[in-house]
């Protein structure tokens, strides 16, 4: 009891909050030179370098690097492109592949030592990705089916009594034009935000306990650090999963726009 009271009333364990995500500018006072922005550009360089090196000396018997690059590509192409979109999937593989790798690398920044900040925990980045998906799947639908037919397919589900359209049409329109892009971006953002906060709690808490004057707290601090390490592995899983899910849903939306409603 003494220990918990000590912690609560102590001189200041400050729990992590949203202010931990407001990072100062790196160069001067520009809002465009904060850590997340720099990380986005860095991720583009890392991804480009990796895949250029992996594909430069393409051989029948692949090197380890080539194998790694090709594994990622064929995963997106087969599991997300071919299986979900089906016929004509090749047109969309470049977008899906870019999306997957970009989100994956930016998520993994959250647990890579010295970087340790998931770019996607700033909501504006997922918003932009969702806008890309939104524009692409609607454009695909309009191109494939024509504007009127596409919108009619969304708003008026065939085989339903006419009075039910009053109830259903607003829901369909809201789902396609509002809920889809919003949930797509918020899911990614919230997972990355919460994950980073979780790591801050355990590692920051362990740090606080280690520097506490009370010996008992010092002894207990490894448990907090240990849980921080466990959570880091958990985060690795979540980061990969979220990169997969945003790509899977983008593929599904494109597939949905390609199929004509009956």
């Amino acid at each position: 009891m003494h220990i918990t009271g000590h912690l609560a009333s102590g001189p200041g364990f400050v729990p992590p909050s949203t202010t931990d995500f407001k990072l100062p500018s790196i160069f001067g006072h520009s809002d465009y030179a904060t850590k997340p922005v720099v990380l986005v550009f860095f991720s583009v360089i890392v991804i480009s370098l990796f895949f250029i090196l992996a594909s430069r000396k393409a051989a029948v018997v692949p090197s380890k690097l080539q194998f790694a690059g090709e594994s990622i590509y064929s995963f997106v192409r087969k599991d997300l492109g071919q299986e979900i979109i089906g016929a004509g999937f090749l047109d969309y593989v470049p977008f899906l592949f870019t999306l997957f790798v970009f989100v994956l690398v930016n998520n993994l920044f959250g647990i890579i030592p010295l970087i340790q900040f998931p770019t996607m925990s700033h909501v504006s980045f997922p918003y932009v990705l969702a806008i890309f998906t939104f524009v692409i799947f609607h454009a695909v639908g309009i191109k494939r089916q024509g504007l009127v037919k596409y919108l009619k397919g969304i708003a008026f589900l065939p085989g339903v009594p006419k009075f039910a359209y009053i109830l259903l049409t607003p829901i369909e329109i809201a789902t396609y034009f509002l809920i889809r892009p919003v949930t797509l971006s918020l899911r990614l953002f919230a997972n990355m935000f919460a994950g980073h906060l979780l790591l801050l709690v355990f590692i920051g808490g362990g740090n606080y306990m280690l520097h506490d004057t009370h010996l008992f707290m010092k002894i207990l601090s490894p448990f907090s650090f240990g849980f921080g390490i466990v959570m880091t592995f958990f985060e690795f899983m979540v980061q990969c999963l979220q990169a997969y899910i945003i790509t899977l849903l983008s593929a599904l939306f494109i597939a949905g726009a390609l199929v004509e409603e009956h």
């Binding site: 085989g159 109830l167 259903l168 829901i171 809201a174 809920i179 597939a255």
Partner: protein, 64 residues
């Protein structure tokens, strides 16, 4: 193949349920605001939205 499509259906269903509650709950909320009634339309709207979105999910995924 099936597992990916089932996963897709799962997310789509969730989207429909959210937007059903949001749209009709929102309409009910607005009506309450304008007519100065106490949450009756909001409650009704939520129920209507939930019912309508479940109906829509059945139409989209349960018919065949």
């Amino acid at each position: 193949m099936a597992s990916n499509n089932e996963e897709g259906a799962l997310w789509s269903i969730m989207g429909y349920l959210i937007s059903g509650l949001l749209i009709w709950g929102g309409i009910g909320f607005a009506l309450d605001h304008w007519l100065h009634t106490h949450h009756y339309f909001f409650l009704g709207g939520l129920l209507l939205g939930a019912g309508a979105s479940i109906y829509l999910v059945w139409l989209r995924f349960g018919r065949e």
